[in-house]
């Protein structure tokens, strides 16, 4: 069992634990609501949400195709899984770039925001549908971390496709790609954990929509 398999197994056990925790706390409901709200035509009307969901979908494909082989067989992704991985990659790249453009401003840190520990997590009691309330300090950190890791994930693989690096360099790039992808997954799940207060916000938003 190679080192990456061990580390990714531990990482994914943590991810699964976090997802179970999120589910129990109702934090996944927001995501489910987002997906359920998508209708034909939504992509034109609500491009932000659509890009987000498309990005999540492609990210899940990348996670499944990239990590399942290494977790269960110890081998790198090959075969049809690799083709799917390669197909999902540009979709994810485009989505993450758009998400970056659209969400960067709402994830700006305010002066002194992180001085208080409680600023890391969105508080459930704050029910107003304001962007600044949705994005807690923790979410902001994980958002920027995800952007940085996405750059590493993408460039490491693209660089390996060019005749620039020899065998050792290729191995380093592959490791970089794998580890950054693992931490990207962890960062995204952490973002969900920090954003657990999203649930009531979205519920309120849904009620507002109904009223409208």
């Amino acid at each position: 069992m190679n080192m990456f398999r061990v580390i990714s197994t531990i990482g994914f056990l943590g991810v699964i634990a976090a997802i179970i925790y999120l589910n129990r706390a109702g934090g996944l409901t927001g995501l489910v609501v987002e997906i359920r709200r998508i209708r034909f035509g939504d992509f034109r009307r609500d491009s932000k949400r659509s890009v987000y969901v498309l990005g999540i979908a492609s990210f899940i494909i990348l996670i499944l195709t990239g990590f399942l082989p290494i977790l269960f067989t110890g081998n790198s992704v090959t075969g049809v899984a690799l083709v799917l991985h390669v197909v999902a990659a540009p979709v994810f790249a485009v989505c993450i770039a758009i998400v970056g453009i659209l969400w960067a401003d709402s994830h700006r840190f305010e002066p002194g925001e992180l001085r208080n520990r409680s600023g890391l997590v969105t508080e459930k009691k704050r029910g107003k549908s304001s962007k600044k309330q949705i994005n807690s300090g923790g979410q902001k950190i994980t958002f920027w971390l995800a952007l940085v890791l996405s750059i590493v994930v993408m460039t490491s693989m693209i660089l390996s496709m060019h005749a620039l690096f020899g065998t050792h360099g290729q191995e380093v790039l592959l490791d970089l790609h794998r580890y950054s992808a693992l931490f990207l997954v962890i960062a995204c799940v952490a973002s969900l954990c920090f954003g657990i207060g999203v649930k009531p916000v979205l519920k309120n938003q849904k009620t507002e929509d109904k009223i409208k």
Partner: protein
């Protein structure tokens, strides 16, 4: 009484203690004194009885390599080496190698044979082929020894013949004779005449052999016999007397480093192309650089050659062999405590732009060895399969056996490697589902009635229609009613139904026989992938989609093909799909690079903004 017993006991114990086990005798030539020059081999000749040979002897006898070399070399140890130990069941067979191929046009046969226990190859004994018959057929490219030098293996009915022909001793000259006049083709000539004990002398360049032991009766004696047929010439040898010095010794040009030409006699490959001009082909890049075959394929006194494949070192517990593989020389091997890469000046490859998965899935030879793969696998001829280099070679490009290369086959270790391959074709006896090959000699008399003669001498398949196959099967049953004959060819088993019709089914016994090859190694700039990934990953690349003809004499199956990917653990759908993905790869690179650039810009902008805010807050 007690005193007597004590004396006897002391005597016995003293005797036991003084009995010395004779130490293993180290021969003069088997241990180096450290001097790297080649010793001069000015030596006496001995016949097989160990008697000195001198010019003017009557009768003049051929020299025996065993007796001539024995004073200085451990013949017994040497004769246990790789080239001589095929018939020793205690020797692990190692990676599947080239078998001897029993090719016979009349019976439409190309059958893999080997005394080594290689999957897919048959033991000659199982077909009733005696060592004498085997040597007569294949001894042309054997260096002697093995079954030719082992009395215990000889069939009882051939014992008298062995007295006449003599043993086929290890012919040291086959490899170590650097004399220009050495003629290995003469070895074949003598083998065909059953002149086994004369064969080494005949190749030496200073002896001429006449006559044929095959024509001699079983009671023939080399020391003189009366022959009832004056037309038959008994085997005899005549030496060039000028080669004997005043002491009666002969100078052999023996070298430790075997010249490439000696290896080539048995290990040549001819690629059959439309423009098969010799000058158009290059040799292995290592040889062109001045190396010798034996620089990598080394051996010690035991002559256990390093074959050079990955895993051999572990399989035979020869750690040194790991440093002599492609990887061992060019990259270094993992077992060694000291740096082992770069042996013999081997450059360390950069493999720029090649994802590491290739090194787990492919052998080095996949990209670097053999002819550049084309739309169809090449037909090739090899020394051992086609008797190349001998006087009886059939120069026709269609001559059996039909071998294809390169075929990229997945090996047992999971790596894809270039292979040479042929489709076995032979007659079998079916017994309760088990399939056992029939000796072609049993089939020949029947088949000869139905197969047209090879008037052009091409040596190609006969035109074998389904009617002819049925007729041959009926003929075999008529000759022996206990037989349930069937025919294997082109991946199928042909058998006769109860209604007398021919049925064909895929059968594992009919699977093609393939063995990995490593030479000729092409220069790095001609290796697969040098132009682009498309060398292998295009949707029509030969690496996956080259056609492999299903070679068969059965007329109805002629022209059918498989593709390369059929011999790999990959589906053709995936190979094509993956190949197609390379069409979009430039777009993928642009999209992902653009996305990365956007993200970097966002990070940069917000970092700057954050920094300016930080400065501003500090100012406030």
């Amino acid at each position: 009484m007690t005193t007597t017993r004590l004396i006897v006991l002391i005597f016995i114990s003293t005797s036991i203690c003084t009995i010395q086990v004779p130490a293993q005798e180290t021969k003069l030539g088997d241990v180096s004194d450290g001097n790297r020059s080649t010793p001069v081999h000015l030596i006496d000749l001995y016949d097989e009885e160990g008697s000195l040979i001198r010019p003017g002897d009557e009768p003049m006898l051929p020299f025996s390599t065993r007796q001539t070399c024995l004073p200085c070399h451990d013949y017994h140890k040497i004769s246990s080496g790789w080239h001589f130990n095929a018939a020793n069941p205690d020797v692990p067979p190692g990676r599947r190698g080239q078998p001897w191929i029993l090719a016979d046009r009349t019976t439409a046969t190309q059958l893999p044979l080997s005394y080594r226990n290689w999957t897919g190859a048959y033991q000659p004994d199982d077909l009733g082929i005696t060592p004498l018959q085997f040597i007569q057929r294949f001894g042309r490219h054997m260096p002697g020894g093995s079954i030719g030098d082992d009395e215990e293996r000889q069939a009882p009915e051939n014992v008298m013949r062995w007295w006449v022909s003599g043993k086929l001793e290890v012919n040291c000259l086959s490899c170590h004779d650097a004399e220009q006049g050495h003629d290995q083709a003469e070895f074949d000539t003598q083998i065909r005449k059953q002149n086994f004990r004369w064969s080494a002398s005949a190749t030496s360049g200073f002896a001429t052999v006449r006559g044929s032991a095959k024509d001699m009766p079983d009671n023939y004696s080399i020391y003189g016999s009366l022959l009832d047929d004056g037309r038959k010439i008994p085997p005899s040898v005549a030496y060039d007397k000028t080669r004997f010095n005043t002491q009666g010794k002969v100078l052999f040009n023996i070298v430790r480093q075997v010249p490439n030409e000696r290896c080539y006699f048995c290990h040549s490959t001819k690629i059959i192309t439309d423009e098969s001009e010799r000058w158009e082909f290059d040799e292995d890049v290592h040889l062109v650089a001045g190396m010798k075959c034996v620089d990598c394929h080394r051996n010690g006194l035991d002559h256990d050659m390093v074959r050079g494949y990955e895993g051999e070192a572990e399989e035979y517990d020869k750690p040194g062999a790991a440093t002599l593989t492609c990887k061992g020389c060019h990259l270094g091997e993992d077992l060694s405590e000291s740096p082992s890469a770069g042996r013999l000046g081997a450059p360390i490859p950069k493999h720029v732009g090649i994802p590491p998965v290739h090194f787990r899935k492919l052998t080095c030879t996949s990209c670097h060895s053999g002819p550049w793969p084309e739309e169809n696998a090449y037909n090739i001829k090899t020394s051992r399969a086609h008797a190349l280099g001998t006087h009886r070679v059939n120069r026709s490009d269609e001559a059996l056996p039909h071998i294809l290369a390169p075929v990229f086959v997945e090996q047992e270790d999971g790596k894809i490697a270039p292979h040479k391959m042929f489709w076995p074709a032979f007659w079998v006896q079916v017994e309760g589902g088990a399939v056992k090959p029939l000796d072609p000699e049993i089939v020949r008399p029947v088949a000869a009635n139905f197969v047209e003669r090879d008037t052009l001498g091409t040596g190609d398949w006969p035109d074998l229609t389904e009617q002819k196959i049925v007729a041959i099967m009926r003929g075999l049953v008529e000759g022996d009613s206990t037989l349930t004959p069937a025919y294997i060819a082109g991946g199928k088993l042909y058998s006769m139904t109860e209604s007398g019709e021919l049925s064909a089914e895929d059968h594992p016994v009919a699977e093609p026989y393939s063995w990995a090859f490593a030479h000729d190694v092409r220069p790095a700039r001609q290796s697969l992938g040098i132009r682009s990934c498309g060398d292998c990953h295009a949707s029509d690349s030969p690496f996956y989609f080259a056609k492999i003809g299903i070679d068969t004499p059965v007329a109805s199956q002629n022209g059918t093909t498989k593709i390369m990917v059929d011999f790999q653990d990959t589906s053709s759908f995936y190979a094509r799909l993956f190949g197609l993905s390379f069409l979009f790869r430039p777009a993928l690179k642009i999209i992902v690079l653009a996305a990365s650039a956007v993200l970097i810009m966002i990070l940069f902008i917000y970092l700057l903004r954050g920094f300016s805010l930080f400065l501003q807050s500090n100012r406030d």
